[in-house]
């Protein structure tokens, strides 16, 4: 077995839009997807996730570059000759066939024996908990059940790689959360590589081993959920996944794991961790810090500590969202409500002066573009 189940090397996909313009839906993308991993492509609408997935499945061919499956260049190999299967967003179930026939379809195409087909179809239906529904038509099933049929239909082929295009998009929140866990468990149990497309950051963080964050046809960052969240490499990723405060400034001193940035708005230097590649001395940068990583303290005079004034507090149960102004600089701070208090605002009150401490390891220095 090759290390990479699927590899995209410098892949470009151009479309001619209905307006007659040329559009790079996928723009010089490199991706290595390891065998057996749960890999997600995450990005907002129109960023090229579906197009990337369709090139792996073989429904589209790259304009430039090459898709490799198990180390083999795919070229113009048609979908029915690739050992990957797709779960479509709209499920694409055959309405004229029963659940059983839908799932059996792929095996019949392989020319499997009737007995063999029956055994494998029933096993697949068991896996997705649809035993007893095999004679129903897709129309006679709920959305979640149809979703499972689509899953069983693809899984029964025992593909090396399963491609899933927002498979839970049409389900309500509760069912979606349930299915997320089920899908993840199924993937671990079967050891199949999953390539999962979603625009829901929480879904990607919950399920994935690795995530590729995409924007405008490009991969912005690829890494584990923790890497993506804790070490975003640019402002886009830091903003797209979770929330963050950004301060503009200029690098005054720089070493491998520490950078000092002068922030004009604070008229002070902030010490942080270089997170983008290729930062240089004197460069204009963003300092990024997540709201839950700012410590509110009372009068301490340590490094990276600034005095501010609370201008709003919102109690949301587990946390209190506080807004602190340091001069004109507005910072979001999330404080966990560790102690139960019936009047949470008594702890943080508007107009109160507080000290904010930005720990250097939580304070990321990011390139401006």
């Amino acid at each position: 077995m090759k290390e990479f189940a699927v590899e995209l090397r410098d892949v470009v996909k151009k479309f001619i839009t209905p307006e007659g313009n040329e559009l790079n839906a996928v723009d010089h993308v490199d991706m290595q997807i390891r065998n057996g991993e749960f890999f997600s492509m995450l990005g907002s609408s129109g960023c090229g996730k579906t197009t990337s997935l369709r090139m792996i499945a073989g429904f589209e061919w790259p304009t430039e570059g090459e898709v490799y499956i198990e180390g083999k260049p795919m070229g113009h190999t048609p979908p029915f000759q690739r050992k990957v299967n797709t779960v479509f967003q709209s499920y694409a179930l055959f309405q004229h066939m029963s659940v059983y026939q839908n799932v059996a379809f792929g095996l019949e195409m392989e020319g499997a024996q009737k007995e063999e087909i029956k055994k494998r179809v029933m096993r697949a239906l068991e896996m997705v908990q649809l035993i007893g529904m095999e004679n129903r038509r897709p129309k006679q099933l709920s959305g979640g059940q149809q979703q499972r049929v689509a899953l069983a239909r693809a899984l029964v082929k025992t593909p090396d790689v399963l491609l899933l295009d927002e498979p839970l998009g049409a389900l309500d929140l509760k069912l979606r959360k349930e299915m997320q866990l089920e899908l993840k468990a199924l993937q671990q149990q079967l050891g199949i590589t999953f390539i999962y497309v979603t625009h829901d950051q929480e879904e990607a963080l919950t399920m994935s081993d690795r995530i590729a964050v995409m924007s405008k046809g490009k991969v912005m960052q690829m890494g584990s959920p923790a890497e993506i969240y804790e070490r975003p490499r640019n402002r886009f990723v830091a903003e797209f996944i979770g929330e963050s405060n950004f301060l503009e400034g200029q690098i005054k001193s720089l070493s491998a794991n520490e950078a000092s940035v002068f922030i004009p708005a604070l008229n002070a230097e902030v010490t942080g961790t270089p997170a983008s590649e290729g930062l240089v001395h004197g460069e204009q940068v963003f300092v990024s810090i997540r709201p839950e990583k700012i410590h509110l303290t009372e009068h301490s005079a340590r490094l990276n500590t600034f005095e501010g004034e609370i201008t709003s507090t919102v109690y949301i149960g587990s946390n209190t969202h506080v807004v602190v102004h340091i001069g004109d600089v507005r910072l979001k701070v999330w404080e966990q409500n560790r102690i139960s208090r019936l009047e949470p605002s008594s702890f943080y009150t508007i107009g109160q002066k507080v000290d904010l401490m930005l720990m250097p390891e939580n304070t990321l220095v990011l390139k401006k573009d």
Partner: protein, 307 residues
């Protein structure tokens, strides 16, 4: 009164259906009943209908003549049965040919670029803007001995130095078949197109994804999902072909008689409405039987799964 109507749902339904029911009764049920009554009647010597209850017309249609001298076996004349059989065969052949021609065309249009799709549909519909009879006459112009087809073949033959005797195309069963196929082609293309167009592209992709070659995809996905269109088209073509008399009248000549011609002549030439009514009813019953068995076998398409 009005208030009570507002609360009574079933009375509302009855009231709403009333105009339609009245029209249906006047325009459909009443004439049918009249036809039925007349079909049991007789023709008076001067061409009037004598109302009686006689099965003579039906016996005559089956080939037994009532005024046959002595009632010998030789008196059996299958002429009318032959006409019925010929009509059935023609309707069947026309339908099969029309399906064979319409399906690929509909498929092509359904899969065409959406921008060009309307143009193609428009082209399918254009002939229907011209009167039915005129279009049949146009075929007469094409098929005549001095017509366009003979002219073209003759010219080509002349160039090649081959001796060419103009073909007898008009007034043949073939000419009638061509005319029928031409007339009814759009009525097959449109329903098949509609059902093909409804098939989502992702279904083709799903089939390919699951390992089906394009040919297998067609057999197992496209064809079964487009069967409702084929069934609807078949009904739209088969039934009118069974009853049309204009095409055979113009392109088939006086000797080529279909049920439609038979009925028409009873009412106009032979002035025997009683016999014509009987023939109409037989035609209707036959069409109903064929349609019944056809739709029972093919349903409306959904039940078909090539297993």
């Amino acid at each position: 009164m009005l208030k009570r109507l507002r609360e009574n749902k079933s009375a509302q339904g009855t009231l709403l259906a009333l105009p339609t029911t009245i029209w249906m009764f006047i325009l459909l049920i009443l004439p049918l009943l009249l036809t039925l009554v007349i079909s049991f009647g007789k023709r008076s010597p001067d061409g009037e209908v004598i109302f009686t209850f006689s099965l003579d017309n039906y016996i005559r249609l089956l080939g037994f003549s009532s005024d046959c001298a002595g009632g010998q076996a030789s008196c059996f004349d299958p002429l009318y049965m032959q006409i019925l059989g010929r009509s059935l065969m023609l309707a069947f052949n026309t339908t099969v040919i029309v399906i064979a021609m319409a399906y690929p065309l509909a498929y092509f249009i359904a899969r065409a670029d959406p921008k060009r799709r309307n143009t193609f549909l428009f082209m399918v519909l254009i002939p229907l803007w011209t009167n039915f009879v005129i279009r049949v006459y146009a075929w007469m112009m094409l098929l005549r001995k001095e017509g366009a087809i003979n002219l073209i073949i003759g010219t080509v033959a002349h160039w090649l130095g081959i001796n060419f005797v103009p073909l007898e195309l008009l007034y043949t069963p073939g000419a009638v078949l061509v005319g029928m196929v031409y007339e009814f082609l759009p009525f097959m293309i449109l329903p098949i197109f509609t059902s093909l167009e409804k098939i989502e592209n992702s279904l083709y992709e799903a089939a390919a994804d699951l390992g089906a070659s394009p040919f297998k995809t067609f057999l197992r996905v496209t064809l079964p999902l487009s069967m409702p269109g084929v069934v609807a088209g078949t009904i739209l073509v088969f039934i009118p072909v069974m009853g049309t008399f204009i095409v055979s009248d113009i392109l088939g000549g006086r000797q080529y008689i279909l049920v439609g011609n038979l009925i028409q002549r009873q009412f106009l030439d032979a002035r025997d409405p009683a016999f014509g009514s009987a023939a109409s009813l037989i035609l209707m019953v036959m069409t109903l039987i064929v349609t019944y068995f056809y739709t029972r076998k093919f349903g409306f398409g959904e039940e078909i799964v090539a297993a």
